[in-house]
Symmetry: C2
Subunit: 130 residues, 2 copies
């Protein structure tokens, strides 16, 4: 039928909006850095290349699965470079690319804002909770 129920209509709008968001550059980047571990990896690699093992130690909270998954995603996006050295045992180094360092800089802006305004937020929270 040509007419739709309100529910169907809403679902269509939902889908259209999702498609719209999927095409938005800002959204793509935001979703990338929104990942729990991405910014931590950026920070860890911020001061020079690191081996896989080093990263597991530095970012103690990440499971191996998540760390690998994060690194793969960052590599795919050209933010991190992966270098395999055929020693025994194998050695794999990760480092930020130019693009990665650029993004890292933006994230630091965010960090600066956070440290500058977190007190206001906390204050608002306790005020709200009472």
């Amino acid at each position: 039928m040509a007419t739709l129920t309100a529910a169907q209509r809403r679902q269509q709008d939902r889908a259209a909006y999702d498609a719209f968001l999927a095409a938005c550059p800002a959204r793509k980047v935001l979703e990338r850095i929104s990942d729990k571990w991405v910014t931590l990896v950026l920070a860890a690699l911020g001061d020079g290349p690191k081996r896989y093992r080093d990263l597991t130690r530095i970012i103690a909270g990440a499971s191996q699965k998540m760390l690998t998954q994060t690194l793969r995603a960052l590599e795919r996006d050209g933010l991190v470079a992966r270098t395999v050295t055929a020693e025994v045992p194998v050695r794999v180094d990760y480092e930020l690319t130019e693009l990665g360092r650029s993004l890292h800089a933006v994230v630091r802006q965010l960090k600066d804002w956070a440290e500058c305004h977190i007190a206001e937020i906390e204050q608002a929270r306790t005020a709200y909770d009472s």
Copy 2:
């Protein structure tokens, strides 16, 4: 017993790291704006106050539950102000606070970076996928 298995040790490290992250201001703010709808609400309110109904229309992808939840969270953090007018029917307006506008500015920085570098990322992706 005093000694722990490797698995237990890892779990402890995990917990400690989580606690560390929980205390990090940058992380708190990042998790706030990481929420799928937060930045959209910031953007929607960026050009003046809006009624609840307006927001549901502007952000067509958000379910009512998510929109309300998002607005409550932002209000709690002092980023958005909620004003109830006792008309019939009830009228509720939302607008960015000073703090909210400040955060919005930072998010726009991120958006600018995204629009400036998205091409490189897309390019890296297609290169990686082949």
